[in-house]
Homo-oligomer: 334 residues x 2
């Protein structure tokens, strides 16, 4: 996306108080983005808890929405929270985009209530990258914003996911698959069957039909569309299985002197794979459908993860993501 | 379960014509079960295609339901198929149980139409083992028999899954978890929320509440209950991810001379893990809720997988699985 010229660009608002390692790691990540990547950053939070903020804009917010807060109530009651203030900065045109590693539900609620929905969008969805070592990640959506969905919502998720893949990865006509339990269009729930029929009729969409669980990793399509219940279960299943295998492999490599010697030989070759699946590198999930750019980072985000998230937020904002989403869903669905 | 005394026991009916490697590998697996495990076997299929069947009973069936056949139509039209005849052998008390690696839908339909449902069961479900290296596998059900479910069906799946875990693994009070997108009972779809409320009220059930995708592998409960759409997607996601990681690891180990030397050191330590996740060793999935024992093996089953399946079918049949399922669901649900 080229080198941003600091001073002429709006900053990315970072919720400094959200995440397991907030504020220290969040501030450190924001600093990495500002200094190493040259992306202007706006830190939102309690100024006296942020430590050294030199070189970054600070917007004071006296409250914090915690992981235990109910998302809707938190946003309504804590009007001076870092999350709400970050969303307002985007709404008011003072920030290009927002990033938070805090309460996911509250991040969605803040973005939705302050930025509003894109006209015509029924519900926003969370798009999560699925790593594909050696090429651009695939996207899975909805990853958990909406436990219950209608066919019309899934069609919009497909449209938004395809637009996002185009912006993020430069894929001109991303392939879109609908997650089901068989490739035939007769397979699945009524929701899936109705959605299949609708997607097949959308001009310009590169819809390849149903895909199955085994098409998620390795992903056989650029965009995997599903309801937020299935999507969330699938992603957490992958997350758990990945950790399980990494731990099991780690134990094998650490068995004794001979395996540790073997491990030293293998580690340089294993690193690219581990890096591809390190959530620190993916920059987080994107809330699609709100009238602004909102990146939802993992709660455990370190400085590096936050810097990646700021980079993604910046890149898709300057590439005009929201405008492309508006175009994408202005096409007739039926 | 002790050594069966051949001659006093009914055989396990094996669909010799079902599976990617049928009939050769199926017959070879049946022979392993008969000779090595001492379990009497009844081969069902076209006698002149089965090769050497010495030491095994053969029941002639002139037709084959293929992978391309519609399950319901296949069973209705091909009345002399190996699948239908195997199910009839169980129904008529000539076989203890049936095993097939053929068309899964047709296997379910044959069992359902010929054996019938257990009284009170709304719909049978497929219970699939999830390996837990070092201990008994967990069970996930429904793995795909019913894309759409009601709360009452999920409660029966929980009851049947718990009874099966008890029979198969000797777990006296298996822990049962309901797959959702958050641990709180307020999380998930209306189906999940209603099921949660029902399960919490069932006396004697060791219901631990909602579990998430990351609780599937490694499994944190003995029985994971979900609808057949989610269950099928989750299992196929795991299957795909497992193959992906094994392939990626294999590539790393085979990079050059030095990694191949390191691999030789590690392989003995990796083998137990690989064996635990080798579908050949798990014996296949179980159709629970029909009035008889029916094991559904993977289409790619080799001789060893079939022998494992015959072993499991035999063991749970002689342990009285169907009787225990009948008891389990005779408890009041609401």
């Amino acid at each position: 996306m080229g080198e941003p010229s600091v001073g002429r660009q709006l900053p990315v608002a970072v919720d400094a108080m959200g995440g397991d390692k907030a504020p220290a790691e969040i501030v450190a990540g924001a600093r990495q983005a500002a200094l190493d990547l040259g992306i202007p950053v706006m830190l939102v939070g309690r100024p006296d808890e942020l430590g050294d903020t030199s070189g970054m804009e600070v917007v004071a917010a006296s409250e914090v929405i915690t992981m235990d807060d109910d998302p809707g109530q938190g946003v309504r009651r804590k009007k001076d929270s870092s999350l709400v203030r970050a969303a307002e900065a985007v709404r008011d045109g003072r920030a290009l985009a927002m990033v938070s590693a805090g309460n996911t539900g509250a991040t969605m609620a803040s973005a939705l209530l302050r930025m509003g929905r894109i006209r015509g969008i029924t519900r926003p969805a969370i798009a999560t990258p699925i790593p594909r070592p050696g090429s651009a990640p695939a996207l899975l959506l909805d990853a958990g914003a909406n436990a219950e969905c209608t066919p019309g919502m899934l069609v919009q998720f497909a449209q938004m996911g395809a637009a996002y893949a185009t912006v993020l990865h430069g894929t001109p006509a991303p392939t879109v698959g609908l997650l089901s339990i068989g490739e035939e269009k007769s397979k699945g729930t009524p929701l899936v069957k109705e959605t299949h029929a609708l997607l097949a009729g959308i001009p310009g969409m590169n819809f390849v039909g149903n895909v199955e669980g085994r098409d998620v990793l390795p992903a056989t399509v650029d965009v995997v569309v599903t309801d937020g219940f299935t999507g969330n279960v699938v992603l957490k299943t992958l997350e758990g299985a990945l950790r399980f295998f990494m731990d099991a492999l780690g134990s094998v490599l650490d068995t004794d002197e001979s395996t540790r010697t073997a491990a030293a030989v293998l580690l340089p070759h294993l690193e690219p794979l581990a890096a591809a699946f390190d959530p620190e590198n993916t920059g987080g999930a994107m809330l699609l459908g709100v009238d602004g750019v909102c990146v939802i980072s993992h709660g455990s985000s370190s400085a590096r993860a936050i810097a990646s998230a700021v980079q993604v937020a910046h890149d898709v904002a300057v590439a005009g993501l929201v405008g492309l989403l508006k175009q994408a869903v202005s096409q007739p669905v039926e």
